[in-house]
Structure formats: structure tokens, C-alpha cells
Amino acid sequence: MTGLKPKKEAGKWRFSVLGLYIQGVKTALASRMAYRGDFIMSMFIMMIVEFSGPVITMIIYGNGASFPGWDMNEVLLLQGIFLLSRGISFPFFMGIVWNTIGRVQEGTFDLLLIKPRSILLMSIVTAFDSEDLGKLIGGILVLRMALKRLPEQPLSHWISFFILFLFSIILMFGFALFMAGLGIVWIGNYRIYEIFMSVMDFGMYPKSIFSKSFQSILTYIIPVSLLASYPASALLGSVDKDVILALLASIVFLLLGLCFYFKIVRNYTSAGG
């Protein structure tokens, strides 16, 4: 039987995790292109929606008000980073939340379980959300605008920014795992993601505007401040030393997310949907 052993031929990177993922992206794009007009429209709207946060900021500053300690362009930079983080995570992996909820409800989650790959990988491969690329474009545009208006930053700032931004994505992935896990338990509850969206909202503003106790929660427990506040501060060269704790917290958060997700999947397979 030829199908028995997976062959490791040269140049078969297509069958690697990344190769499979790219095939999934291609398939999702092809599906969405069937309704090109609606796709472009949806993507455009996604992009415009992303502007709403920065627009509020501009309106607030336009009315002469401000966040203490931050000028408008700095806040826009922070929000641009926030949108970029969303713009990367939403199309590329956040779709597992909706994918899982939908599949568990329809009973097609089982179809992923009869594939010879990790269930998490299968959930991600079949969840690429092409419309959310609009979010990515929106994030890039806001960030570009803010960077243009701010003085140039030294390379060291950029390096620490990229490191912290990586953790922003890690945190997002942790969120995705928790939400997807909840989606299996809480069958058919499409509003689960709102819980996460609302908590994420704290990340769209400078950490310093929140009360001390909230700042602690947002740094040590659910380190939402890593989503944008810390990376923005890093780029502007003014990170406080609590950032180390936030980084640790984000790693713990990711590990807990993984444990939670796989525990739920195990429960699903032992108890049945």
C-alpha cells in the first residue's frame, strides 16, 4: 500500500506544516474569489471599520482634549500597532474561533478529526479569513500615517519594538486558543468572541490612562498592555521595567491556552459532541 507511509521526498515542503497552511490559504482565497465584488466590498469595510478607533482619537484631539502624556500622533502610532497586530492575527489564525464554533455546531468538526494531522493545525488550515486582510491593510495605513508624522526612531527602538510585537501576536494566539476551546464547550455561541473583543479593547489605549489596579491586571494577569501599549512605548523609547513581567505573563497565557484547548479537545473526543 502506497498510502501507508508518508514519503519524505526531496522538495516535498508542500506537505510540511507551512506548505499545508499555504494550500489552505490558497483554497480559502479561491473560495472567496467566487464572489469577487462582495469580497472587495467586505474587505474594504473591514478596513474602514479599523479606522474607527483612530478616528475617535482624532476627533477627541480635534476637540482640544487629550490623553495625559500622549500627543495625538503617539496615540495614533499605538493604535496603528494595535490594528497591525489584529490585522495579522485575524486573517491568519483568529478564524479558528468561528471555524470551531461553526463546525462543532454543524457536526463537521469530526471531519477534521479524521484527517491525519493535528486537530489544531487542521482548524487553522481551514480557517483562513481572507476578508480580514482588510484589517491588515487598515493597520498598515494607520501605522504609516503615524510614523510619517513622528520623528525617526533609532534602530535599537525598532529592535525592541519588533520583539515586543512578536509577543503581541503570541498573546493574540493565546486568546484564539481560549476562544476556540470555549467554542467547543459552549456549543453554538457565536458571541464568545465578543468577550475577547471587549477585553482586547483595553489594549487600544495607553496603559497609563487606566487606574493602578487595572494596570496591574492588564500587565500581569491578562497582559493586554502587550498588544500595543508596550510595543508603542518601545518604539518611542520609554518602556517601563514591568514589561518583563508582562512578557512572562504572555508566555504563561499561551501555555495555559494550549493546555485548555487540548484538554477541551480531549474531552470532546472522550465524551462526544
Binding site: 476627533i59 476637540n63 482634549a65 465578543e194
Partner: protein, 276 residues
């Protein structure tokens, strides 16, 4: 109510009562989904609280709002949003796209009426599961949820309830012309959010944009009822008394209804012409 129905022998109110009860029961299964709001809304509100607290540190007023009024604005507008939310547009879209709406054409009750009753049933449940708990949260938070002119506030809220339904339902009718309307309905939803004042008080926007917004129906969905609740209306430099703006709101409901019926008529004609 019940007795009046019996006497008149008129079937319409009985149908509405049946539809309202059925929808209430049908949605009861989703009460956990609705209850997500009890968790989510306080968080959104806290974020707003911190944003405006930070902003008001350096000043007493933003566009005529004090800090307390600003919080009241967001609290009331979120409640209005809960009260007005409905999925009639999406449902109608699906009915049209699958051709199932024909079964409604065969019933003695018009679909728009049926759909409106559904909304009432759904919102009664939402009132118990979402709105009351969130109101409790606001009150505990120290927001004074007392309308300046209670009677006018109730009238304005009811009008906005009807108007928001008409807007969503009208969007659903577009399914007669487009195969897939996800994009369009998303766009309109966004537009409604921005232009209704659910997002930010409309008088914070630039002057020119405010003038433009004044002539759209959206302000009457959220901004107007919230302003009536607070007791003072002002947009684009136009100040009106409460009775005046509520009258205008009623006119808008009438206009929207006519637009809705006209589009429905054209849609049905198109549907019959094309066939499906």
C-alpha cells in the same frame, strides 16, 4: 387586550400575540448567548470610563458635555442599542435568497408585520436577560438613569425602536437585487453605527459632517433618543426643543415606511419578473 381581541373577532392582534410568544420561546434557547452582554457591556463601559476620565482630567467640558453627561450618553446609547437590535434584515435576506419568502406571500399576514412581531418577542427576552442586568450595573456604577422628560423619552425610544426595524428591514430587501449581500449589510451596519451616534456623540464630529448627518435617518435611531433622555438636543449648531425633535423623528418614521414599501413593491415585481 385579550378580551378586546375576542370581542372584535379581529385576527391580527391574535396573530401578533402568537408570533411574539413563539419568538420569545424560540429565543429562550439562546438566552446564554444574550447573557454574554452582562459580561461584555460592563467591560466596554469601563474602557469608555477610563478614556473619558483621562480626557476630563485637563478640562471640564468636551463639546458641551460634562464628564457625568458623557458617561450617561454612553450608558443610555448602549441600552438603546440593545433595545433596538434585530436580525430582521438578515432573515429577510436569507428568505429571499433561498426563495423561501414565497411561503410568506401565501400567508394572510404580511411579512413585515410578522417580522416586526418577531422583533418585539425577541426584545422582550433581551430586556430581561440583557438590558435589566446591564441597567443594574450602570445604576450600581453611579449613573443616574433618569430621563429629563419621561413621557417624551418613552415616545422617542418607541419611535427609534420602529425606525431601527424599518432601516434593517429595508436593507434586507436589497437581496432582491444582489446575490450575496454580506458586504453591503456590513457597510450599512458600520454606517449606521457611525452616523447614529452609537459610536460617539454626533456633535463631536466636524461641523460639515454634522450638517450632513442631520439630514440622514440614522441620528433618529440613537442620537436623538439619547439626547431626549438627557433633555437637550443640539446638532450642527441647530438647537431644537424636545417636542420639535420628537415630531421630526415621527416624520422620519413615516418617510422610512414609505421608502420601505416602495422598495418592497419594486423587489417583488423584479422577483416575479425574473423568477427563481
Amino acid at each position: 387586550m385579550q378580551r378586546a381581541v375576542m370581542k372584535k373577532g379581529n385576527s391580527t392582534p391574535r396573530v401578533s400575540k402568537a408570533v411574539i410568544t413563539a419568538t420569545y420561546k424560540e429565543n429562550f434557547a439562546y438566552r446564554n448567548q444574550m447573557a454574554v452582554s452582562i459580561f461584555v457591556q460592563p467591560i466596554y463601559f469601563l474602557v469608555h470610563y477610563f478614556i473619558w476620565q483621562a480626557i476630563f482630567q485637563t478640562r471640564d467640558q468636551v463639546s458641551g458635555f460634562t464628564f457625568d453627561q458623557m458617561l450617561l450618553y454612553f450608558a443610555v446609547s448602549s441600552l438603546v442599542e440593545f433595545m433596538n437590535w434585530d436580525s430582521s434584515g438578515n432573515k429577510l435576506q436569507r428568505l429571499i435568497q433561498t426563495g423561501q419568502f414565497i411561503t410568506f406571500q401565501l400567508r394572510p399576514v404580511s411579512h413585515i408585520y410578522f417580522s416586526f412581531c418577531e422583533k418585539i418577542g425577541q426584545r422582550i427576552l433581551a430586556f430581561l436577560v440583557e438590558i435589566l442586568p446591564v441597567m443594574c450595573f450602570y445604576i450600581l456604577f453611579g449613573i443616574r438613569l433618569i430621563p429629563a422628560k419621561p413621557v417624551w423619552a418613552v415616545i422617542s425610544l418607541l419611535l427609534s425602536f420602529v425606525l431601527s426595524f424599518l432601516i434593517r428591514y429595508t436593507i434586507g430587501i436589497f437581496a432582491f437585487w444582489f446575490v450575496k449581500t454580506d458586504g453591503v449589510s456590513r457597510a450599512v451596519l458600520l454606517l449606521t453605527n457611525i452616523c447614529s451616534g452609537a459610536f460617539l456623540p454626533l456633535n463631536l464630529y466636524p461641523q460639515g459632517f454634522q450638517k450632513f448627518l442631520f439630514y440622514l435617518p440614522f441620528q433618529f435611531v440613537s442620537y436623538v433618543p439619547v439626547r431626549v433622555f438627557i433633555g437637550h438636543y443640539e446638532l450642527a449648531g441647530i438647537t431644537m426643543t424636545i417636542p420639535q425633535i420628537v415630531f421630526l423623528q415621527a416624520v422620519m418614521v413615516g418617510v422610512m415606511f414609505l421608502v420601505n414599501r416602495a422598495l418592497w413593491y419594486l423587489g417583488i415585481k423584479r422577483f416575479a419578473g425574473v423568477g427563481a
